[in-house]
Symmetry: C2
Subunit: 317 residues, 2 copies
């Protein structure tokens, strides 16, 4: 067993090289190769905190992964990051622990961003140019980085954040990496201009309203991953022509689509699996006018995929 | 984050010092302090293997624990142990990983044995003398060690194993530690003589028959922890006056009591929680003639308890 620390993980060229593995991970969920038990949950309401335990196995893989990720949302008051995480990679041949990936949540950040970019590119109009990013936190930055890295074209990125300073800082940081990002304080106008909207906030109420969103827009929603979180108006979800989720039952249980589903605005049958769209088994976008929405709550198979790529790059397995 | 290896863990005086913590862990399940989500499971049928993920939290504790334990039952053919495991101790204050306990299953072995000894001492007749141990593997040895260490009296231990050589070796090893253990090849006679029977095998069919067991016997069954495993005849379970489980739903789902429950020989209402018995809220043994059975499938709160004791002994927290 070896332990791999955060600096070592941060130095790996994961973005581009994990795309194939994460694409395949989504497909594995829909073609019967994946074992994906329900996500485990511990809540610490008196500490404004929670913990998720994700684990799964893709048939044929040399490893499986157990991941702990925690969100202690009062940590910033003490100068600590809210999110922590660790992955255990276990040999699927012997059950021995192969590696501890002490990534502090970095691998989750990257696999979430790459998953978002894959969904965005699969569902947006081919002529899409303007990408509006809602939120200016870690995941906003990660989504922009991933999309810029793997799109094969140059998008115009514009960020809106509740905290204007954070948005400016994000733009400054990304510019240093060679990615040009604009900043706006006007979310309504941003949504109207955008061909692609990516929502990345932990909001508890809808930020993006249906009347702001034009025909043909694609939306990738990654923020809502727990009961009570919501970024899109229910009427916007109901209006979309194509709804896609990484895992339909997670999405209607505690993801973005849970609100439209609970209020009987959409039926489960309207939501397609992202893996089926990627595999070509189900149509993605059907016209240039259609609104498409991908709701991503995150899957253990993505963790397996990124861990496998990281361990391969490190020469471990 | 620190990593604590198997040698360091093996050197700790855990047996006696974890009794109070594990007792309290059982009680925490019944008095509302414990969060104990369902056990996660991955199966590898083509490899004769499985993996369990246990996690939970006891209110007020400084840490919570996520544990991965694997059983790859063809490993011995390659000269490897069947069981592996690792525990992650996470701060319940900040969500940061405090320690990786790379125990290879040792902490599970000890907490299972201490739990067995606690249940045995709570339910056996005070004048019990002869302890019949069914099975001669790692957990048989651990149960004897734990009971000998914490009983406060000297029992007569006799071991039966399907493999006579393994039983003799177990007796030799324990003698070297100062614990006298007899060996028998006659399970029926052993069950007739024993005041306490401890079953520790991965058997898939009943080994202990009702007609072999005398009035007043206490049985602690720790082997059956997954669907299909069984050590006691259904008629024996049905005949017992007092049935106790560490967690009733686990026991009737995949523990020893699942067979009697599935065949409608017992009702769930007949099974008491071990924690309630330990807390004095429910009566344990009601007479010297009663047969009592404790079925233990293992709880994440035991993992928390033993991890907490180990980390305390190591000066970590």
């Amino acid at each position: 067993m070896i332990t791999i620390g955060p600096e070592q993980i941060a130095s790996l060229p994961l973005l581009r090289e994990s795309v194939g593995a994460i694409r395949d991970a989504y497909i594995s969920v829909t073609d019967g190769r994946a074992q994906l038990p329900p996500v485990g949950y511990l809540g610490f309401p008196d500490r404004n905190a929670d913990c998720h335990v994700k684990f799964g196995y893709i048939q044929g893989d040399p490893i499986f992964v157990v991941k702990m990720s925690s969100g202690f949302y009062d940590n910033p008051k003490r100068g600590l990051p809210s999110n922590n995480g660790i992955m255990i990679a276990v040999s699927a041949e012997t059950g021995e622990v192969v590696a501890i990936l002490d990534d502090r949540g970095l691998l989750t950040e990257v696999r979430t961003a790459v998953g978002g970019a894959i969904a965005t590119l699969a569902l947006a109009r081919p002529d899409a140019e303007v990408v509006g990013v809602v939120g200016a936190g870690t995941q906003a930055r990660a989504q922009i980085r991933a999309l810029a890295a793997i799109a094969g074209k140059v998008f115009e990125f514009v960020v809106w954040g509740r905290n204007g300073k954070a948005a400016s800082e994000l733009a400054r940081n990304l510019l240093a990496e060679g990615v040009v990002v604009g900043v706006t304080a006007d979310l309504e106008t941003l949504c109207g201009r955008a061909d692609i909207i990516i929502t990345t906030t932990p909001s508890a109420q809808a930020l993006v309203l249906s009347e702001w969103v034009g025909a043909g827009t694609h939306i990738t929603a990654v923020g809502a991953d727990a009961p009570g979180k919501q970024e899109l108006a229910v009427s916007l979800v109901a209006r979309a022509g194509r709804l896609v989720a990484d895992l339909v039952e997670q999405s209607v249980n505690h993801g973005e689509f849970s609100h439209a589903h609970a209020s009987l605005q959409i039926e489960v049958g309207r939501i397609a699996d992202l893996g089926s769209v990627l595999a070509g088994a189900v149509e993605g976008r059907s016209s240039a006018e259609e609104i498409t929405i991908a709701d991503l709550t995150g899957l253990a198979v993505q963790d397996i995929a990124i861990a496998r790529v990281a361990l391969h790059q490190l020469g471990v397995c």
